[in-house]
């Protein structure tokens, strides 16, 4: 469908007399993606979220002028010309505890404070950086490792395949969330020592590694299946018949096909990783205090749920918006790259 319109109406920029060459599959997919309004809107939202979160230091320095990483239990701020304590005496019950200040909707403590008297708005921005960083890096890790495992197992076959496939089977059958929790608890209580490398227990590398590892089977298995299928495909058989060396078949025939599958997996995996990160952090075995992520802020807000609900509600909304955008963008990428998606265009 798209191909026909392209042939009939060449882009205005095309030099007169130039023959329209068929575009490569990547260019076609990219074009298709750019025409997908929902996917482009989602991409815009994602870029906006990333940019806003990257501005966290600017916000904390120039707008809120608060330190989001140390507690502020006895401080006061000026709201409408009056001095107000950040931690206010409780008016309900026995009146012994303190309640953090609610949203001021002005510079400092825009969305109020958490139980440590820290600025929730500033922590949301810094937390977003960590959530995005962890979800993104672990996605890259998953895709690279899963791609490697899937290609090696599928392409070389034999005992390599048997060993790798059995390992994947075991990981696949391990309840995925329990695997994440066990790895997190063990590494977070003592950090991780691998030979000369020591990763301290509050390092962001731990959640990245753990989340990057646990979803490998979910990607590696389909990749392996695809490689097996490609190996039997006519163009690969033809290449083998022509005496093309294995390495060239791998690079020219197998890799581009696998790469497109991995790209389809990327946004959807990142969405899943984002939720996993927030769940682990919510159980306080992900990002460690005083660093923040959207999950840890929800956890901080759990004790304040009935008095200062925004602390727990806002980071959740941030997660939902990001994950919805990732899913919508991921659907667009899939429709653009997956030839089967042509079927779906009709509905």
């Amino acid at each position: 469908m798209t191909l026909i319109t392209e042939a009939v109406a060449p882009p205005a920029a095309a030099a007169p007399g130039r023959v329209q060459v068929s575009r490569g599959p990547w260019a076609t997919a990219f074009r298709k993606l750019r025409q997908d309004k929902a996917a482009m809107t989602a991409l815009g939202v994602l870029v906006l979220i990333v940019v806003v979160c990257l501005m966290a230091p600017l916000y904390a320095t120039y707008v809120s002028k608060t330190d989001p990483f140390s507690s502020n239990l006895s401080g006061t701020i000026t709201v409408n010309g009056e001095d107000v304590a950040v931690m206010q005496a409780e008016t309900e019950g026995l009146g012994l505890g303190t309640t953090p200040i609610g949203p001021t909707y002005t510079g400092a403590y825009f969305f109020g404070a958490d139980t440590q008297g820290r600025d929730v708005m500033a922590r949301l921005l810094y937390g977003g950086q960590n959530s995005l960083l962890i979800a993104g890096s672990s996605t890259v890790l998953t895709l690279v490792l899963a791609g490697l495992v899937g290609i090696v197992a599928g392409f070389f076959g034999g005992w390599v395949d048997i060993v790798l496939s059995r390992l994947l089977d075991i990981m696949w059958a391990f309840p995925v969330f329990l695997l994440a929790i066990s790895l997190s608890i063990v590494t977070i209580s003592h950090g991780l020592v691998i030979g000369p490398i020591t990763i301290s227990s509050d390092s962001l590398l731990l959640p990245i590694l753990i989340i990057g590892l646990i979803f490998i089977p979910y990607v590696a298995r389909p990749i392996r299946g695809q490689v097996l299928q490609l190996k039997r495909s006519e163009f690969v058989l033809a290449a083998i018949g022509l005496g093309v060396p294995q390495r060239r078949i791998l690079v020219v025939d197998i890799l581009p096909n696998v790469a497109s599958t991995l790209i389809v997996f990327a946004p959807l995996t990142m969405a899943l990783n984002m939720i996993t990160e927030s769940s682990l952090s919510f159980l306080s075995i992900g990002v460690q205090s005083p660093a923040a992520s959207w999950g840890t802020i929800i956890e901080d807000g759990q004790g304040l749920l009935y008095t200062r609900p925004l602390v727990a509600v806002l980071p959740g909304i941030a997660v939902v918006i990001t994950v919805v955008a990732l899913n919508v963008f991921g659907d667009g990428v899939r429709d653009a790259l997956d030839p089967r998606a042509k079927l779906r265009v009709k509905d």
């Binding site: 929790i181 066990s182 003592h190 939902v320 919805v324």
Partner: protein, 325 residues
């Protein structure tokens, strides 16, 4: 068929043995994770540490420890907790089971019924605003972290709107046994059921719509139309039946994963002390016998669900069966 089942059983046993080794390695061999140090406390003297090590058998070779643990879990069944010494592991899990099952069964009924309604409605009205709205809602359902949905549900039903007619019936958090007070059991679980079901309603609704739309492009639907069958019959006997193959296999896998500890976050948020909760506490205490038992219990369901789905698949879709033989 008998041979296939036997091979399948062998595979299951292999995978479960692999999982038990993996759990054991994670908690015993991971550098820095010394269970004796954890049990003895932070500032234990070297003598105390050595005593604890001997007491719990940590000074024996690693494979002896592993075999002993396996023997006490599967053969003698008298495995006891490291943390609450004397607490038998298997009865603790059996005690927590009814809670997890109560949570899961209600949620499963809810998500199957609602997602079929949503999937069919959206597929029948595809392209209209109803379809689009349902799919957007489904997408949002899929994208919400379940623990956060639980918190928001608590905020609404326990605090903000608890004093209105709408939610005044919602009891305080916690579990009420079905045998003690069926109505109380129901009231205590309605909110957790909805919370757990939302994700799956979104997921299954979307999957079902997609496979219905695909089914309607198949030749056998055209044939059914040409035969003059009613739209209703085409939907139920032909389109929906094909689409349910995907639906059933998804359901099997998700149900297995949820029985095996996937309900943890919902249990945690609503204070239901089910298997997920028990497992999480065991993890937190590095209580290896409890962890091992809980993970083995969970993997029975996950591995079992995988096997059942494979067999069901072969029964529902003959093409799979012939290609395997």
């Amino acid at each position: 068929m008998g041979f296939i089942l036997l091979r399948r059983l062998g595979e299951m046993l292999f995978v479960m043995a692999g999982i038990s080794v993996l759990v054991f390695l994670i908690f015993f061999v991971t550098p820095g994770a010394d269970p004796a140090a954890r049990i003895a406390g932070r500032n234990a003297s070297p003598e105390v540490l050595a005593a604890v090590r001997h007491d719990f058998g940590f000074d024996q070779p690693i494979w002896v420890q592993y075999l002993l643990l396996m023997k006490r879990l599967f053969i003698t069944g008298d495995l006891t907790s490291f943390v609450n010494r004397g607490q038998k592991v298997i009865p603790s899990i059996l005690e927590a089971l009814p809670i997890t099952f109560s949570l899961l069964l209600g949620a499963a009924v809810l998500w199957v019924v609602v997602s079929i309604l949503i999937g069919v409605t959206a597929a029948m009205m595809r392209g209209t605003w109803v379809d689009k709205t349902l799919m957007v809602l489904g997408l949002i359902g899929v994208s919400m972290p379940v623990f956060w949905v639980g918190e928001v549900a608590n905020l609404i039903t326990q605090s903000r709107y608890h004093d209105t007619w709408l939610f005044s019936w919602v009891p305080a958090l916690g579990y009420v046994p079905l045998t003690q007070d069926p109505w109380g059991w129901f009231k205590a679980l309605v909110v957790p059921w909805i919370t757990l079901a939302i994700l799956y309603i979104g997921l299954y609704g979307r999957v079902l719509r997609a496979s219905l739309v695909e089914a309607y492009q198949e030749d056998f639907i055209r044939t059914a139309r040409a035969k003059g069958l009613s739209e209703r019959r085409i939907l139920i006997r032909h389109a929906l039946r094909t689409s349910l193959v995907t639906f059933v296999s998804l359901f099997g896998l998700d149900f297995g994963a949820l029985v095996g500890g996937g309900t943890l976050l919902v249990e945690y948020v609503f204070g239901l002390q089910g298997v997920g909760f028990l497992t999480f506490n065991a993890f937190g205490n590095l209580d290896l016998p409890m962890i091992m038992a809980a993970v083995m219990y969970a993997s029975v369901f996950v591995v079992g669900a995988n096997a059942v789905v494979d067999i069901l698949y072969a029964t529902l879709d003959p093409r799979v069966r012939t290609s395997r033989a």
